[in-house]
């Protein structure tokens, strides 16, 4: 076993050897090494987070036909560091009547809910934090902590706008958790396991090809969970000023902001893991774990780019429209898709590779088509009810 094949184990063994060489207890040395590993991962993620600020600003600039930050450093690369220095030296305010402990705990929990997600991300075949056999559910559990942090921030700020933002976010998250959890069951059905690594290993064909509708619904639910446009109702700059984080300043606001960016990138990564084969890319992942990490990061970046693309090209929708969209369309559709997928999986179990893929793909297309047809006829009736039949008829005649 050499370093280039299994860097984590080799490095851990080497460090443990050093620590025990100093006369340290073996168990204690192991705990210390694990702690150092976690510390290293979090540090890398935070550094990555700094550059995500730059990436986000550059990409949004391109979408809006601007150049973006380009003054500080080459291509404006040093700009996020300037932002951070600004955030750190800003006055740290706490509003009157705020619940101090809860108020200060909320940004920490928000960041934590994102960072713990990385415990289950398989970076390479041999590199993953925890080989959790309920990895898929862990994703939802971490989202629950994120929801909690937002409602804590909204309540403790002693501000009406923050409170409304918190309420909205909870309504949205509780609603969109259902299609998300349902869609997480689809890779679970295909792989026969809730373990992230097993899901990746069983993707000889990307699950996106077998279940494109599932991947799409997962992306929509993920964007809602992130609280990004078109579902950024908790922030709603034009109506709630800044929503739940209105009273936060300095680095506390920075924690929410950095948490949101890293969350978006993380969900890009999970989209890649669940539906696009994670670190696998035509056997390249077997060459070196570092190459596998590179593949995963590129795929996660592409997912993140899609999320940004949606954010900067869609307008925000109203809260009632959004909840209606979830409860009346997305949730029934995801249940139907889950039933269809489970049924097709049982029917096609014995079929050979291509027939299976084709059957699954067609089942998805048919489900999507039926759902859209139903939505179309219902919305047509709704339009007629609202605008009156006559008016519509006149327009058609002229």
């Amino acid at each position: 076993m050499n370093f280039w094949n299994d860097p984590l184990k080799v490095a851990a063994g080497w460090l443990e050897g050093i620590f025990t060489g100093w006369g340290m207890d073996a168990v204690l040395a192991h705990v210390l090494v694990v702690f150092l590993g976690v510390f290293l991962l979090i540090t890398i993620l935070m550094v990555l987070d700094i550059f995500l600020v730059w990436i986000e600003r550059k990409v949004v600039a391109r979408f809006q036909d601007r150049i973006g930050p380009n003054r500080v450093g080459p291509y404006g690369l040093i700009q996020p560091f300037a932002d951070i220095i600004k955030l750190i030296i800003k006055e740290d305010t706490t509003p009157d009547g705020a619940d101090k402990v809860v108020y200060n705990l909320a940004p920490i929990l928000s960041m934590m809910s994102v960072l713990i997600l990385w415990a289950i991300v398989p970076l390479a075949p041999v590199m993953l934090g925890v080989d959790l056999n309920v990895g898929v559910l862990f994703l939802i559990a971490a989202g629950a902590i994120g929801t909690l942090s937002i409602i804590m921030a909204g309540w403790s700020s002693n501000n009406k706008f923050a409170m409304i933002g918190g309420f909205r976010q909870v309504a949205v998250m509780v609603a969109f958790e259902i299609p998300m959890l349902t869609m997480l069951m689809i890779p679970t059905i295909f792989a026969g396991s809730m373990n992230m690594n097993d899901i990746i290993e069983s993707q000889n064909v990307w699950y996106f090809i077998i279940s494109p509708l599932g991947a799409l619904i997962f992306l929509i639910a993920a964007i809602a969970e992130l609280g990004r446009a078109p579902f950024d109702l908790a922030e709603g700059e034009s109506e709630l000023v800044a929503g739940f984080n209105i009273e936060y300043s300095g680095m506390k606001f920075g924690m929410f902001y950095a948490g949101e960016l890293l969350h978006a990138f993380t969900f890009g990564g999970f989209w890649a893991i669940l539906f696009f084969g994670g670190y696998r890319f035509f056997g390249l992942e077997q060459v070196s774990p570092f190459l596998a990490i590179l593949i995963l990061v590129i795929k996660a970046m592409l997912g993140y780019w899609v999320i940004m693309w949606v954010k900067y090209t869609m307008m925000r929708i109203r809260i009632d429209q959004m909840l209606g969209f979830n409860w009346k369309f997305l949730t029934p559709l995801s249940f139907a898709l889950l039933l269809v997928t489970a049924l097709m999986n049982t029917l096609l179990r014995g079929a050979d590779g291509w027939l299976y893929i084709l059957g699954m793909f067609l089942a998805n297309v048919v489900t999507a088509w039926v759902a859209l047809e139903i939505a179309r006829s219902v919305s047509k009736k709704e339009r007629e009810r609202v605008e009156g039949v006559k008016q519509v008829a006149e327009v058609h005649h002229s």
Binding site: V27, G97, D99, V102, L132, N133, V134, L137, F138, I140, A141, G143, A144, I145, T147, L148, I151, M152, W155, N158, M163, F167, V170, V174, E177, M194
Partner: protein
């Protein structure tokens, strides 16, 4: 004392401490947040019991849904933000006595049981609790009936909650 025991003691003290805060805090939002802490402690207890699935479901169902519903309900049913009225009954000491007697009685009854201080056997190699659980939950020879009854109960609760809370204009 092994590391596992130390972890258990820390988690148990944390759980019981926050549970005490749940029932004694004056501010109800704080009580709900302390409930979240208690539920976390219980999730760690499940993890110590090698029931990873239960731990994650605890976080998803209890913290993600139930605790947040509680916070919602507290916010919706308060007249003013600072509640200065006493939060406990006048004869709270009787309640404390009953609770203490229940605890003592439970422990007294349990410690006369032969299996009280038995230790766990090691988890069999390759034992997969989740697939076992899934198969038994859907197997007609095991627990499919309670499972279905639970889902009917959830449906009834869904309909009932909507009906009760619906604001008739």
């Amino acid at each position: 004392m092994t590391g596992e025991q130390i972890i258990f003691l820390i988690v148990a003290l944390f759980t019981l401490g926050s549970a005490l805060m749940v029932v004694t805090t004056r501010n109800l939002i704080h009580a709900a947040l302390w409930l979240v802490a208690t539920l976390f402690g219980v999730a760690v207890i499940y993890a110590l019991l090698n029931a990873g699935f239960m731990a994650v479901v605890q976080v998803v169902v209890y913290i993600g849904a139930i605790a947040i519903l509680f916070i919602f309900a507290v916010m919706l049913t308060r007249k003013d933000l600072r509640d200065n009225t006493p939060q406990t009954n006048k004869n709270w000491w009787a309640g404390a006595l009953v609770a203490a007697l229940t605890f003592v009685g439970l422990v007294f009854t349990l410690q006369s049981w032969s299996g009280f201080s038995k230790t766990a056997s090691a988890v069999p190699l390759g034992f997969d609790a989740i697939s076992q659980l899934g198969e038994q939950l859907t197997s007609p020879t095991a627990y499919v009936l309670p499972f279905e009854v639970a889902s009917v109960l959830l449906l009834a609760a869904l309909v009932g909650a909507v009906y009760v809370a619906f604001n008739k204009k």
